[in-house]
């Protein structure tokens, strides 16, 4: 099959970039949510102290 290598290269790159970005976005959101939870805990502690 002529030029099949180019076809598979294009699809491999598309999927690598899309999956990479999806993973980045979901992982980053998980970290942000953890940071929000810890800040809320810290704020609760601060209010209790006061």
């Amino acid at each position: 099959m002529e030029n099949a290598g180019y076809l598979f290269a294009a699809f491999a790159i598309i999927w690598a970039v899309v999956f990479g970005y999806v993973l980045f976005v979901f992982n980053r959101q998980r970290k942000l949510r953890r940071e929000i939870d810890s800040l809320k805990e810290a704020l609760k502690g601060k209010e209790v102290e006061q």
């Binding site: 290269a9 699809f11 959101q29 800040l39 809320k40 704020l43």
Partner: protein, 219 residues
């Protein structure tokens, strides 16, 4: 919950797209098997244009209403749009090599598409390097509005000028029914993916704003 459903729908549509592209649609006679890149190249182009249209609308609404939620939508869409515009350039280049014998040529469609990518890279850079966040958002909104002019130029480049890029085929009856079905399913799959990524990115930006607010309160 909505995002999980959208993720599932997006995954199903992508699997359907792969089946249609690799197993269902017949091979195009002139370009052979490499022409199948078309079924992903056109959808990523469509999504990039859609994303930059959302940036355009969001930017106008942000400057008009001065409500930061529109800036969040615009900036989120710009980031996702740049990802798809990058894929557009890469898939186009890979397709060009076996057909035209070159990875790149400075013809109107490719050049205006590269300019489009650079405009939205500039949009993201203007935001990151602004000394004050609201100022960066305002400058970026102007870039997002003015830069959108390039989207119709890219779309119409193949009709306005003589180009090496293939001419319009979708609305000119140049696709057989299986090709058109495959293309429409792929466009639907990538559009769903864009909506999922946009929602996720908006949620992330809202989380970043919440973190800043909580840090202020913790001081």
């Amino acid at each position: 919950m909505k995002r999980k459903i959208l993720l599932g729908v997006s995954a199903l549509k992508m699997v359907a797209s792969l089946y249609l592209v690799f197993l269902y649609v017949p091979t195009e006679e002139a370009m052979g098997i490499v022409q199948r890149i078309f079924y992903f190249h056109v959808p990523v182009a469509w999504v990039a244009f859609l994303a930059f249209f959302i940036v355009f609308l969001g930017s106008i609404l942000y400057l008009w209403k001065k409500d930061s939620k529109w800036d969040v939508i615009a900036s989120s869409s710009a980031e996702v749009g740049v990802v798809f515009a990058t894929l557009l350039l890469i898939t186009g280049s890979i397709w060009a090599k076996p057909i035209w014998g070159v990875w790149w040529t400075w013809e109107p469609r490719l050049t205006t598409a590269l300019v489009l990518w650079l405009i939205y890279i500039a949009y993201l850079i203007v935001r990151s390097f602004a000394t004050e966040e609201s100022r960066g958002a305002r400058f970026a909104a102007v870039v997002g509005i003015v830069g959108f002019i390039d989207v119709p130029i890219v779309a119409l480049a193949i009709t306005l000028w003589r180009t090496q890029h293939p001419g319009p085929v979708i609305f000119q009856g140049g696709l057989t029914p299986p090709m058109l079905l495959t293309l429409l399913i792929c466009i639907s799959a990538f559009t769903t993916l864009y909506l999922l990524l946009l929602m996720q990115r908006i949620s992330m930006k809202n989380d970043e704003i919440e973190i800043r607010r909580l840090k202020e309160l913790c001081r």
